[in-house]
Structures are given as C-alpha cells and as structure tokens.
C-alpha cells in the first residue's frame, strides 16, 4: 500500500512552503545579517544550506524570498482575478462595442510574448515591491478577462439566465448569482496555474534587477548572485533553484489535478 499517492504530494509540497514561511516568522531569522567570516561557506551544522556571497544564511534568505514570492503571487492573483473576471463578465454579458473594445485591448496585450510586457512595465515604473506588483497586475488580468468573456458569452443565452432576466433580476444579480457560480471552476484552475506563473515572473523580474532590491531577499535576485559564484559555491544556486522548482512544479500539478477533478477543458 502506498502511503502517499501521486496526487497528494503537490499539496504536501505547497503546505510545506506555506508552513515554512509562517514558521519563519516565529524564529528571529536574520536574512540580511552579514557574516564576513562565512562568505560562500558550504552547508554545515551552523547553516544548513550554507552562506551566500556576503556570508548571509541562505536558508533564512530562502524563506524570506519564499514569503515575498508567495505574497506577490497571491496579491496579484487576487487583484487580477477580481478585475479580469469583472471585465470579462461585462464584455460577455453586454456584447456590442463594449465587447469589441475589450477584445481589441486584450489582443494588444497578448501581442507581447510571455514576460516581455511585464519587463517593459517594470522597466519604466522602476524597481521595488509596489511597482513589481503593479507591473504584474497590468499584465496578468488578460487571461481572466478572455476566459470569463468566452464563458459569459455562452452562459448569456442559457435558459436560467434568460428566465432570471425576464423575472426582472438586476444585472449585478444575474452576473453574481446566475453566471459567476458556473464560472468558478475554470477560473479556479486558471488562477492555480497563474500563481505558478507569477512565482516565475516575480523571480524573472528580480533576476533582471527589476524587482525586489538589495538587501532584501528574493529568489530571482539570489539566483542572479548565485550564478556569479557558480564554480566556488554551487550550493547557492542549487538551493534556490530546487526550491523554486519544487514550488512551481507542485502548483502546476495541483492545477492539473484540479482541472481533472472539476472537468475543465483548457
């Protein structure tokens, strides 16, 4: 008998990271404390994952980075999910020029591949946590708007929506009570994948120096520092890279599982 099925391990990994971030608050970790005698020290009893180029404890910084990463991913997802869904509902429900305008705007946003637009926004807005969140918000809403709009378009002519309409239900009520519940499943799947994408996006921008600024820890910035000392201190890059990969992989697999359970077509 297997104790843990394949389906359960992503939840364990995700819980591990959430608990790690929460528990890190209890201990007085000092991710920014410099110890010159331990520069690039290999993992040992004192520092489980070794020390970085300024002798800072990699494990503490890893946890601080995880906190930033999860905070940004969840904040941006909450904001863009709300905003994008609302836009998509309005466009899909009303149709006409509202819909055409929204589709033109999303088409333009989708004309920038991958992370390029977030890089461009972050570049002009300048570095820092707030601007990083803003740059990611400006690009991440598009997926939700497209998805919701497409679904709303077909829901709009369903019997129960038409019935509610003819009984005189207000537009917000139709959207909130009669359309949104049917959209919840695909949106949940989309949001799960999006959290993984945002963890990578945050790390990418920080890697390019556009995100979290020194001395504060972030996975992307740590990887950038780590690459410089790849030969003398491979543990630095490996610790951060494996952490990032474990989290992203777990969230993606959870997304796949959710999609199968909720029977959402992508």
């Amino acid at each position: 008998m297997r104790l843990i099925s394949v389906r359960q391990w992503p939840i364990i990994v995700i819980l591990f990271w959430i608990l790690a971030v929460l528990f890190a608050q209890l201990f007085d970790l000092q991710p920014n404390a410099i110890a010159l005698e331990r520069i690039l020290a290999a993992p040992d009893g004192e520092a489980w994952l070794g020390n970085d180029d300024l002798g800072r404890d990699i494990l503490s910084r890893l946890l601080a980075g995880a906190q930033v990463s999860l905070f940004i991913a969840i904040t941006v997802t909450s904001i863009t999910l709300t905003f994008g869904t609302l836009l998509g509902l309005v466009a899909g429900y009303f149709g006409g020029w509202v819909d055409r305008l929204l589709m033109h705007i999303t088409d333009v946003f989708l004309a920038f591949p991958g992370i390029l637009l977030a890089i461009a926004f972050a570049a002009v807005l300048g570095p820092g946590l707030n601007n990083l969140v803003l740059a990611l918000c400006l690009t991440a809403w598009v997926g939700y708007a497209r998805l919701t709009r497409a679904q709303a378009l077909s829901l709009r002519n369903r019997q129960h929506v038409l019935a509610a309409e003819s009984l005189g239900a207000t537009v917000p009520r139709i959207m909130g009570r009669h359309m949104l519940p049917l959209l919840a499943a695909p949106l949940m799947v989309e949001a799960t994948y999006s959290i993984a994408g945002l963890v990578i996006a945050e790390a990418s921008l920080s890697f390019l120096g556009l995100g979290i600024q020194a001395p504060n820890a972030s996975w992307g910035a740590m990887l950038r520092d780590g690459v410089r000392y790849l030969l003398v201190a491979p543990h630095f890059v490996l610790a951060v890279g494996i952490s990032l990969m474990s989290l992203v992989l777990a969230i993606n697999v959870m997304g796949d599982t959710l999609r199968d359970i909720l029977d959402v077509k992508r």
């Binding site: 333009v108 004309a111 591949p113 461009a120 390019l208 690459v227 790849l230 990969m245 697999v253």
Partner: protein
C-alpha cells in the same frame, strides 16, 4: 485569408501605441530619470526637445509613427548611436539562438511526445511526462545555471558563457529549447492520443500498412495540426525567453540589449527592443495561422 491579414492592423496599431506610451508611464519626469540628478537644466531641455517630449502627445505619436515608417527608431541617449544600428547588430545573434533552440525543441519534443502517446500509461509515457513537467517548472534563470554547472564547470565540455567560441551557442540554445521541448512533448502526446482512436487510423492498420507508416504518415499528419499552432505561438515566445537566457549566458543579442538599456535607463532603446520583439511575435503568429489554413483545408479565412 484577407480577413486574418486585416485583423492584424488594429493589433499592430495597439502595439505601437502601447510601446509609445511606455515612456509616459515613467513616474515623474522621464528626462530627469534618464539623465540623473547631476544634469543641468539646459541638458534636460535639449534632451526633451530631442525626444520631442515638449510637444503635445498626439503630435509626438504622429512623429513616432512617421519616424518608424522611415526605419528611424531614434537614438540612444548615452552613445547617440541610431537605435536601428544597435538593433541590426543584435538581431542576428538572437535569431540564431532562437532558431537553434526551436530545432532542438522539435528534435526532442516530437519523438518524446510520440513515444509517450504510443506507450501511454507505461514507463516511456511516465518518464516523458515527468521530464516535461519538471522542465516546465525550470525557468531559464535556473535551468541555464544548472546546465552551465554540469556541462561547463564539472564536465568541461562547453564554454561557460560569452559568444567568442563556436560552442558558446550550445548551452543557451539548450536552455531555451528544453522549455519549448517540454510543451511540445505534452502537446504531441495529447494530440496523437486523440487521433489514434480515429477510424482512418484503424483503416490504415486494417489495410496492412506497417505500424511505422500508420503512425508517421497517417496519424501524425492529423495530429500535427494543433501542434503547429502551439509551435508558432511558442517560436515567438522564445524571443521573450531569450531576454533572460541571453542575460544568463552573456549572449549579445536583442534580449541583452533590452536589459542593458533598462539598466542604463536608455528608454529609446528599451522601447525599440520591446517593439521589435512584439512585432516579430505578431508576424510569426500570423504566418502560423496562414500555414494552418494551408495544412488544414477545413479552416479557411474568408
């Protein structure tokens, strides 16, 4: 066909408008940000008029479009080199990198996807799925250093970074290609699995064709259609991935130029790089769509 071509026009216009507006998103005065605090007010006034920032927004946008139509992307504010010269110098390096990555992805992704579909739910499938899932959780700034560590530093087979050596392209191309190979594997597997149950595959088998011919000639031809769309989208996506990969490996391409210009706050260069990458992406997507209509006679753009 014509409809699809016309649909590109508003998108291109929007892309131009958005890249034009980028500089105006700079909090405060972009001229001050670009020149730093030590600049005199005369310097600022000069740059402002050089960039046309002292004119109304609509006039600025008109001038931007007119200049672009003449191949004029403005000048770097630091070196005063025309941006078009910088672009011309960097585009070939990125094109080489992206194309090699594309080829690598096809040579890994297609066979792996086919193997996974033919042996669905057995170990080749599980291995391919594990591999593609792991690779898609490895962004270039983690996969790149990992490959660097193994192949350059530990095994000493390839150069670490730079582009002097002919072997220098291998690691960045692998970094970029592996990510796409992961997507391609999953797409090919799903697409081929769907087709394998179709009547025409059974017919092909029933008339005694070899399994090889059935798969490669009959099933793959149908299964490739959705794969082509994804490939087209992803070839353009490689250009965005190249921004980070080039930074990891010090590959002097368009992506590196973009990142350097951001570090130096050289906005005309930043703007031009973003624009070129986006337009290339739009163009590749258009070509993919048109190719799709050629491959699948059922889809016709009237």
């Amino acid at each position: 066909m014509l409809k699809r071509l016309l649909a590109v026009v508003p998108v291109v216009f929007g892309v131009l408008l958005l890249t034009f507006l980028l500089v105006h998103l700079v909090p405060g005065d972009p001229v001050e940000v670009m020149l730093g605090e030590s600049a005199t007010s005369a310097d600022r006034a000069q740059l402002r008029s050089e960039l046309g920032l002292d004119q109304p927004l609509a006039i600025q946008f008109k001038n931007y479009l007119v200049n672009l139509s003449q191949g004029d992307f403005g000048r770097s504010i630091h070196t005063h080199t025309p941006v078009s010269v910088l672009l011309k110098a960097r585009i070939p390096a990125t094109a080489r990198l992206a194309l090699l990555a594309f080829v690598i992805a096809i040579f890994i992704g297609l066979p792996l996807g086919i193997a996974a579909a033919l042996k669905a739910h057995h170990w080749p499938d599980k291995l391919a799925t594990l591999l593609s899932l792991s690779l898609s959780a490895m962004p270039p700034f983690w996969l790149g250093p990992l490959l660097m560590l193994v192949f350059a530093l530990w095994l000493g087979l390839l150069p670490v970074s730079g582009m002097e050596n002919p072997g220098s392209i291998v690691l960045p191309a692998l970094t970029l290609g592996f990510g796409l190979a992961a997507i391609l594997t999953r797409m090919t597997r799903a697409s081929l699995l769907e087709v394998l149950h179709e009547d025409f595959v059974r017919t092909a088998r029933a008339k005694g064709l070899s399994e090889r011919t059935v798969i490669l000639r009959h099933a793959m031809r149908a299964a490739l259609l959705p794969v082509v769309t994804v490939l087209g989208l992803q070839l353009g996506g490689l250009l965005a991935g190249a921004v980070i990969t080039e930074t990891v490996f010090g590959w002097e391409g368009l992506g590196r130029l973009l990142v350097e210009s951001i570090e130096k706050r050289d906005y005309p260069v930043t703007q031009a790089c973003v624009l070129v990458i986006a337009l290339a992406y739009v163009f590749i997507n258009l070509m993919t769509d048109l190719l799709y209509t050629q491959l699948d006679p059922r889809v016709r753009y009237s």
